[in-house]
Amino acid sequence: MSNISASNKEERYFSTITKEQRNMRSPYMIFMTIVLVLVALLFIFPFYWIITGSFKSAAEINLIPPHWFPMEPTTAHYQRLFLEPAWQWLFNSAFMSLVAMVLVCIVSSMAGYVLAKKRFPGRVALFSLLVAAMALPRQAILIPLVRIMNTLSLSDTPWAVILPSVGWPFGIFMMKQFSEGIPGEMMEASRIDGAGEINTFLRIVVPMLKPAFGALAIFTFIIVWNDYMMQLVMLTSRRNLSIALGIATLQAEFGINYGLIMAGATLGSVPIVLIFAVFQKYFTQGIALGAVKG
């Protein structure tokens, strides 16, 4: 459904381009654009302040009035940062996000396809249960999850963060919405050709779900990377922390050593921002799907 509306939007955009260009040049729009740029600067500022702060010397960092740019750039804070297992933290975050991403894509596409395209007893009840669970605050099940991970001896391992993210039904919901757009004739044709269920899924369904995989993958990656609360309750020993948790630990231990904390924050935010910038197209598709009814 969202694919159709998106392409309509693009078409409309190209067909009315002259009118919209005219609109953009009206005094009202010019004024609004200027205001928007100013507000946008406020939103970029924290990111800018993190990165520049990480290169300011200890003498420079707390100057009031502040230096807007490091006058004597130094890498001292990074040298201090890497006395901590900071690379390990970054690796842990990447590992958790990547594994969760792959698992979510596999598990959700299988389930979403079946829920959209097959008729079987229990389908409606199951789907209702999944949708209802999506409204549940994940934090409400935090304590039982900690307990379960203890029982499985998975506490303080990346799996304690990964497994609960895979259980979250959002991906199934999303894949179901996308799968509904697959024409039934294609699966019929493949069945007549004698392909088994698994072959039909791999050869027909998976290629058609490509944009959905893109959206769900980047979405899951960012969510798991930033799932601070889950990481906080699950990971404890210093080497096993995620990068977000590592930064929080530095803040708790070093308080106002802002240079070091900003170096950590740079290491934690720059990679994920770059990943987002590259895959933004898929990400916005995934978000918009939540609103566009399937």
Partner: protein, 304 residues
């Protein structure tokens, strides 16, 4: 006779096909169901069950509804509920209006600038709450922060304010940061649905001589209604779940003035180790949020 027999055979055959289809379906669903039941449904049941127990590091005694009764008399919990409500009530209209405004400005822009702005307003979400909070904590710092300097230079304040340590200001600081991390998604949603507004109606109203505002008010606004409701609900849920901000910025202080249900739950479970009591809070939080979401799904269904 032979037709009947054929029918019977066909019927049996189609039943066999159906049985086979059901088996295949559940095989495809199996991995998802293992994760879903193991890490969502089962913990949910466990959470509800243990909320009826005095459940700590060493105790596990059934006490019926006493956790819930205690919650209603707990002043800190009351305060946390009020704070949670204040955060939600203050942030929802602000987020809605602001994101709608940004969306109306950017949705007609060329593709590149449109995605640039969309990305910029998404930046605080993507960066993650921890980097965002640590830099804001610095900005808000009484002596080392840039905010006091800016406000003093502009003549708004005379002396340095202890933003995060003063009960009068701390909750507003949290609201401000929450705001920056809440508007990314609504903007994306509004841009998408502004693109879906029936363009012929917009043109018709322009031909009829409607002003920009009238066109917006009578043509665009009604068709944005489902998105607006959706935005209202997700923003409310986000505000209810606001945790990292509070834990890292103020730890609920000063004096519980910035504690929320989510923060109090965490504090009760992982600092005081009263699991049963914390689970009772979780159940109440879940009920409140579920009520909001039920409202959302009803709206979405009646609309289509």
């Amino acid at each position: 006779m032979s037709i009947l027999a054929d029918n019977k055979k066909l019927f049996a055959r189609s039943r066999a096909i159906q049985r086979q289809q059901t088996k295949v379906s559940y095989l495809f669903l199996l991995p998802a169901l293992v994760f879903f039941f193991g890490f969502v449904v089962f913990p949910m049941i466990m959470g509800i069950y243990t909320s009826f127990f005095n459940y700590t590091m060493k105790d596990f005694d059934f006490i019926g509804l006493r956790n819930y009764v205690e919650l209603f008399g707990d002043a800190t919990f009351g305060r946390s509920v009020v704070n949670t409500m204040v955060i939600a009530v203050a942030s929802v209209p602000l987020v809605m209006l602001f994101s709608l405004w940004v969306a109306t400005v950017i949705y007609q822009m060329p593709v590149f600038s449109r995605s640039f702005f969309r990305g910029v307003f998404y930046l605080p979400v993507v960066m993650g709450s921890v980097p965002v909070v640590v830099v804001w904590k610095w900005v808000f710092h009484r002596y080392h922060g840039i905010l006091n300097w800016v406000f003093k230079s502009l003549g708004i304040i005379n002396s340095n304010i202890n933003w995060l340590g003063d009960a009068r200001y701390a909750i507003w600081c949290i609201l401000a940061i929450l705001f920056t991390t809440s508007i990314g998604q609504p903007i994306v949603l509004y841009v998408a649905s502004l693109g879906n507004v029936d363009q012929s109606q917009v043109e018709a109203s322009e031909v009829d001589g409607c002003s920009k505002w009238q066109t917006f008010r009578h043509v665009k606004w009604p068709s944005l209604m489902p998105t607006t409701l959706y935005v209202a609900v997700i923003t409310t849920i986000n505000s209810f779940q606001c945790f990292a901000l509070i834990q890292l910025l103020t730890s609920g202080g000063p004096n519980g003035s910035t504690s929320t249900v989510m923060y109090y739950l965490y504090d009760t479970a992982f600092r005081i180790y009263r699991y049963g009591y914390a689970n009772a809070m979780g159940v109440i939080l879940a009920i409140i949020i579920a009520a909001f979401s039920a409202f959302q799904f009803r709206i979405m269904r009646t609309d289509s």
